[in-house]
């Protein structure tokens, strides 16, 4: 990259922001994939059942809880 570019604060801020956005998108995509497999057990209908949508909501939150437990466990080793 042009050295002038590497010192451009606006550009650096933009890149940091896009990197964070990409990480968030990646996490949502990963969790959607995992939770879809867990919660959507039959062929998709024209609308989610209430149990399917609450399963998806809970699934993402429990996935986060689990990640925390695993991190703590890992750090205490």
């Amino acid at each position: 990259m042009d050295p002038n570019m590497a010192n451009n604060p606006e550009l650096l801020q933009f890149l940091a922001q896009e990197k964070e956005r990409a990480m968030v998108n990646e996490m949502v995509a990963k969790m959607t994939s995992v939770c879809w497999d867990k919660c959507i057990t039959s062929a998709p209908g024209s609308k989610f059942s209430s149990s399917e949508s609450s399963c998806l909501t809970h699934c993402a939150q429990r996935y986060m809880d689990m990640s925390m437990i695993l991190m703590k466990r890992f750090q205490s080793q």
């Binding site: 990259m1 995509a29 969790m31 959607t32 939770c35 959507i40 998709p44 699934c59 993402a60």
Partner: protein, 86 residues
Amino acid sequence: MDSYSSPPVGGGASPSPEVLMEQVKTQLAQAYAEEFIETVRVKCFDKCITKPGSSLGGSESSCISRCFDRYIEATGIISRSLFTQR
């Protein structure tokens, strides 16, 4: 990713920061869309084409349309459950 290896426009001259930002945005959006489509392909094939026949049946194609819509909806549900206050 292939799109990242393409040279900057304008030959030897570096693009302006504005142009570069636009390119980064476009390429990220493109990469995201490709990844999304690939995932939906795997998920919906799994759900809708349970026993591949000699041609794609009408119920299979309508299942695929519904599956696509539901996968987008599921992405929204997951995203909201993570980023809204419980």
